[in-house]
Each structure stands twice: as structure tokens, then as C-alpha cells.
Amino acid sequence: MSRRKEDPHAEFIKGLWRDNPVFVQVLGMCPMLAVTNSAINALAMGGATFFVLVASSFLVSSLRQWIPRQVRISTYIIIIATFVTVTDFTLEALAPVVHKELGAFIPLIVANCMILGRQEAFASRNSVRLAVVDALGMASGFLFALFTLGAVREILGEGALFGVSLFGPDFEPWVIMILPPGGFLTLGLLLLFFSWLRERKQRLAIRLEELEAEPK
């Protein structure tokens, strides 16, 4: 592990795009589907997850020499749960309306497998600097995915973005988009789109190799 050269830039891009936690790794589906019925809810959820992930990664990486292997998962969970609870209280005090909308899903960030996964797979084996960059990338990727889904669902479901009407009062809302099936549909179509992009890129790469291999 430690032999790998540190490349913060690549670690960041990895989370944001190439290994995007939602579109590529398909992690953290519960908040993804449950709270993305509007852009603002998606942003709040993404922001809360962002804070928890970055703070936990920082702490886990800093303490990685003192955490015994046998109790590492329990310790990670304690660390994550602490940050989640703090986020829960803070959000309730600062933005009560959003907090009410997100309801039980804020405490459920503890169960977001993406966060625990990053601690186990990355933060516990890398330097603090890299761990934080990795967390920043993954959290941004998650935020990006939540926001995309929330924006699509709000635009079609309410004809608005961040509560600002886009098409005037005569817009016919797509009720299904606000309801759970709309979340599944939109997520499925986005996953389809991203795997299509990946496949196209691979096809292009193969084609390019063939061209280069061809004798002049």
C-alpha cells in the first residue's frame, strides 16, 4: 500500500467521477432514493454526508496507529455515529424545515455503507492528507449524484428548482417523480447513462489501440 506514489489529484477525481460512489459503485442507495425528491433536500443530505465522511476519514486516519485491528469496525462506527449525531443536532437548530423533511434519514447516515467502506478501505491505511482528499472526492461524488437526482426529480415533479418555478403556473407536474417510483426510475436511467458512457469510452480506447497497431 505504502509503496504507491501519493497523487492527491487522482484520488480526488477518482471519487468524483471514475469511481463515483453512486453511479459506479452503487453504494448508499437508501438516502439516494429516499430524500432526493427536491434539490434542496438532496443538497442537505449530501452536505451532511459530506461533513460526516470527511471528518470521520480525518479522525480515523489520524488515529490509525492506535486503533487495534480487532475493534476497528466498532471504533469506526463510534466515530461516524458521533459526527452523525452532531450533524443531526446542528441541522435541526440551523435549518429546521429541511431537518423535518429529511426526518429519520439523517441518523441513518450511520448506516451508509459508503462511509464505513472508505474508512476500512482507505482512511485506515493511508496518510491523513490522502485520506482527507479521498474523502473529499467521494463525498463530492456522492453530493453530485444526490443533487443530479434531486434536480431532475424536482424539475419534472414540481416544475421548479430550489422551489423557484421554471415553467410558470401552467406546468403539469409529473407526480410520479416526487413519489418513490420516480426515484427508482430516475436512478435507473442515470445508471444506464453512466454505464453507456463507460462502455463507449472502452470501445473508443480499443478502437484507438487497433488504429495504432495497424501497419501503415
Partner: protein, 339 residues
């Protein structure tokens, strides 16, 4: 469960059949639907024709757009997208905005068929997937029924039909409740002859019961239709309704009303019989049909919606692979217990 995935599907002899291509079967069904379609246009005016065209266009354009470039011509040539679009259009309210019908056609083909891998791979009936999507997306527009066009108003196009894409429809015509809605919410029955002849409110293609039966008879003669499915549905609906009628004649409609009202005939004759989404074995077909019949009556009588044909068929569609699995003919001479 020690049996693996069945590799070979068996049916009793005679195995020799007339030559039947997908294209020919689709053409037969299209032809069989023509009388009911024309009657729908006759009753609901030119608006209904526009709605039908929009849903067909949505289906065909989507099929064309998402087929690999090399197969485009041949895919469209089997007329299956056209048929899906028409079937969807027939289940839509006549005053639905054209843009919604177009979207429904696109969803039918895109989410109902192509995403599963194309013709023959889909689990659910594509036209009903489109309709379920529309009902969940635009619940009000999908349950606003325009009355039949008055004499001399055949060519009048309602303003709702021409609503701008993504915009709310404004209704200028006369709206009315469907026979099933009247039954459920006001306990008013509708004359049986009006129902059978098509002279009532409802989706474009569901009203003319007798013409739908006429088309099905043609399909039966051409052997494009598995007679067990409609028979199973109609008999189970009739029996179940008769039982309910006996228990409380004040509350429940009779068997004939149940059969001729709503989309039951259209669904039983043309949608449940879709060979792709119904079971293959005769036993399985009976289970499938009776399941649909019971679900229809259950949803209509005890559910929140006045009509249940669509959900009944979709639910049984999802049970089809399971039914197929458990009704495989026994393999003789293999020994061992097969559960």
C-alpha cells in the same frame, strides 16, 4: 428445488404448426382491433384519433431511436411497436393531451420493452407499463373522461388535446363519470346495451364491447389467440361477481355489468393474451387467467380505484415466470421426486 433452469420447454403434440411470423401475428391483431378503434373515433370524435396517433408515434419513434442503426428497418417492420402504441392509445381517455399520449408511447417501448432486451424479453405488457406510468404521473388527466361528442361535433378538437407539451390541459368539453366510477362512488348502474354497444364513457377503445369480441373471434379463427386466457378471466370474473351479487344485491354489480364495463374485454382479449408475458403451459395459462379475474373483481370492489384490469394483468405478468416454472410438464422416466 433440485431442478435447474428449464432448458427445453415442452408442449404436447401436434407440434406441426402453420407458418406464423411475428409480423403476420401483429398484423392480425391490428386488423382485429380496427372495428373497436374506428368505433372509438366515431364516438369520441377527431380528438380520439389525435390521441391514438400521438401514442403510436411515441412508440414508433422510440423504437427507431433506440434500435441499433443496422436493425432499424427490420425492427419497425414487425409492427410490434405500432401495435403497442395502438393498444396504449386505446386505453387512454379521449381528451388526454397529445403530449402525454406521446410520452406514454415512448415509456411503453422504452421502459416496457427495450430496457428488458427487446421483443420477447419483457416481463410486463409494454402498453400497460406505459399506461401505469401515465396514471401514476398524471393522475388527474388520466381520470378525466370527456363525454361522447354530440352530433355535429365530430370534428371539434378539445383544447385539452392540443395542450402545449409539459403544460396543464384546460378542459372545454363536457366531462362525465365512467360507468365503473358511477357504480363505485354513486351506486348507479348503467344500461347493459349502452355498455355493450360502446355508447358510454371511458377509454377510447374499451367502450365497444361487442366489436372487441368480434375482433377476438377473428383472432381465434386465425389461431393467434390462446382461448384459455379470455375464457378463464371472463368465467372467474362472472362467478366471483355472481357470488358477491348473491351476498348483497344492493352493493355489488352483477356479472354482466362487470364484464362489459371498463377495460375488462380489451384487457382480457388483447392484453392478457400477449404471448410474451403470459405463461406457456396450458395449466399455467389457467392459473394466470383465473388470477387476473379474481384480482380485477377484488380491486374494483374493495380497492381505492374504480378500475383494476391494468393492475391485475401487470401483477399476474410478474407471476408468469414463476407459474411457468412450476407448471412444467413432468419428465417421464427420470425418477426421483419432483415437487
Amino acid at each position: 428445488m433440485n431442478r435447474g433452469e428449464p432448458k427445453l420447454r415442452l408442449q404436447a403434440s401436434p407440434l406441426l404448426r402453420q407458418q406464423l411470423t411475428t409480423r403476420q401475428a401483429m398484423l392480425d391483431v391490428l386488423l382485429a382491433l380496427m372495428p373497436a378503434t374506428l368505433a372509438g373515433i366515431w364516438f369520441f370524435g377527431i380528438s380520439a384519433l389525435l390521441v391514438l396517433s400521438a401514442s403510436i408515434l411515441g412508440a414508433v419513434v422510440t423504437e427507431w431511436l433506440f434500435s441499433p442503426a443496422g436493425y432499424r428497418g427490420s425492427r419497425l417492420n414487425d409492427y410490434s411497436a405500432l401495435l403497442t402504441g395502438l393498444l396504449l392509445g386505446l386505453t387512454l381517455p379521449p381528451a388526454l393531451p397529445m403530449w402525454m399520449a406521446f410520452l406514454g408511447g415512448a415509456v411503453s417501448i422504452g421502459l416496457g420493452k427495450l430496457i428488458w432486451g427487446g421483443l420477447g424479453q419483457n416481463l410486463f405488457n409494454p402498453a400497460l407499463v406505459g399506461r401505469a406510468f401515465l396514471l401514476a404521473t398524471f393522475p388527474i388527466a388520466m381520470t378525466t373522461w370527456s363525454a361522447q361528442s354530440a352530433p355535429g361535433e365530430f370534428f371539434r378538437i378539445g383544447s385539452s388535446t392540443l395542450a402545449m407539451p409539459f403544460m396543464q390541459p384546460g378542459y372545454d368539453g363536457v366531462t362525465a363519470a365512467t360507468p365503473l366510477g358511477l357504480m363505485k362512488f354513486e351506486r348507479v348502474s348503467t344500461d347493459l346495451w349502452l355498455l355493450a354497444s360502446g355508447n358510454s364513457t371511458g377509454c377510447i377503445g374499451e367502450t365497444s364491447g361487442l366489436l372487441l369480441i368480434l375482433g377476438a373471434v377473428y383472432l381465434l379463427i386465425r389461431r393467434d389467440l390462446d382461448w384459455r386466457i379470455p375464457t378463464g378471466i371472463l368465467v372467474s370474473v362472472a362467478l366471483f361477481s355472481a357470488l358477491l351479487l348473491l351476498s348483497d344485491p344492493e352493493r355489488y354489480p352483477g356479472p354482466l355489468f362487470s364484464i362489459f364495463s371498463g377495460g375488462l374485454l380489451l384487457g382480457a382479449l388483447y392484453m392478457a393474451t400477449d404471448p410474451v408475458t403470459s405463461p406457456l403451459t396450458p395449466t399455467g395459462t389457467w392459473i394466470f387467467a383465473v388470477g387476473i379475474g379474481l384480482l380485477i373483481v377484488l380491486i374494483r370492489v374493495f380497492g381505492g380505484f374504480p378500475e383494476g384490469v391494468m393492475y391485475a394483468i401487470l401483477l399476474m405478468n410478474s407471476a408468469t415466470p414463476l407459474i411457468d416454472r412450476y407448471t412444467q410438464p413432468r419428465v417421464f422416466g427420470k425418477g426421483g421426486s419432483s415437487r
